[in-house]
Symmetry: C2
Subunit: 267 residues, 2 copies
Amino acid sequence: MDAEAPTQLLDPGLTGQPARPVPGIDNGFLAGYRVRFDEAGPDGRLRTSTLLRYAQDVAWRHSEQLGFDRGWYLARGLGWVVRAVELAVHEPIPIGHTLRVSTAVVGHRRIWARRLGECRLADGRPAATVTTDWVLLDARNRVVRIPQDFGVAFTNPEVKSEILRVEPSVGEATSEIELGVRPSDLDPLDHVNNAVYVDWLEEALEAAGWREATEVLPRTYRLEYLASAARGDRVNVVLRGDPSAWQASIHRPDGGELVRAQGSTPG
Amino acid sequence: MDAEAPTQLLDPGLTGQPARPVPGIDNGFLAGYRVRFDEAGPDGRLRTSTLLRYAQDVAWRHSEQLGFDRGWYLARGLGWVVRAVELAVHEPIPIGHTLRVSTAVVGHRRIWARRLGECRLADGRPAATVTTDWVLLDARNRVVRIPQDFGVAFTNPEVKSEILRVEPSVGEATSEIELGVRPSDLDPLDHVNNAVYVDWLEEALEAAGWREATEVLPRTYRLEYLASAARGDRVNVVLRGDPSAWQASIHRPDGGELVRAQGSTPG
């Protein structure tokens, strides 16, 4: 069956709607995500990683609405992958709450584009923001220049700023855990979904006795994705720093680095 | 903040709507779930376990709509837990598709209630069904008799049939894997969410070289939940049988059985 065919029949409440969440950007998209039981942890709040799941989904909805659906990408052998993400959490988001998640492409340069995802509570207060730098890969997983095709649909400024990066962590490792990739961690690109690494980071923080780093509000995480973990891989998550300013490296046992991350909380 | 307060502001497309999916049952509920990118596997189809996530979420929405929200349960120290589930998958469910998931309590006996969840494609074809037998626990995790409170809101027949069970598996074990509970597997009841065990079963089937058992359509899984896995636990998943008729036992290293399961495909 065809994944695109049923689009006509969709409820607008589920498909979302065009929006202009960012001044000066002439298109964007808004959809609601109700926090499910399985998406909340023992504290009854949305798991941090799920913010990335919502943000990538609303980006897909927006892209589809403008004609760039899964079929469009498959036909061209192209696919966006997340190169870096910055996640800021401001408010607790309880189970059963419907988050308003908006998205807009706020800028681009030759080989990357930046999306801003804003998550608001039903009363309008900002609960979280997800800034994502995407790069486009071809069928051989090579970064390609962003084609003109997107120009008309996604008008946004060419920016001077640099793609998000995370410095290599330095200093003595504080703790380390080892994890195995589960088949359920894999997404349609057949690699570990970018949100899963946030679960791994929080697992490492918790194992280090730094659970506060995963609970304090506000807090910010930044991740730079260097390479993908795949089916059957084992990974090590190494922490440095302290709960209010930590650095992490997720690498393969042979040392190949997959993700660099850092987190901070005020004060 | 109050999880219930924003309900007034919700889009009906997201909150769902009353429905009568089962003849003879005078109430039920229907909501749409669009398959997100992170909810699909490398084949671009919804992960089987996510059907249980949708089914438990739509049950919550239905319950809330009738006045039994999280606050109601917390105030009384009560909580439904899944005692057994039967999952039948009929059709592939692709990423981006909006499943129509309906739910109704189709029967009850003294200490358990049965919910039928039906998942339909946008064109109306049935894609999956999830039958769930729930029991109600008090604050000390003891099974309690279902109180009269539910009677008026959830009218359904008292049934003669028995609660779903799975026979202990017999014969020589075919394969076994060991897994650790991840913090991200825990739900608001602070135990491993019932859907996660389906991921574990499919991981064990795949590790045994029986991936066909997780892909063939139609296929049926039945799970009986005997005890909960919790933070930090390790579990073993033991398989018996063959890909078209398998049995599984998920147990703690000390032998304490958590879940019995079986799966079958026609022919």
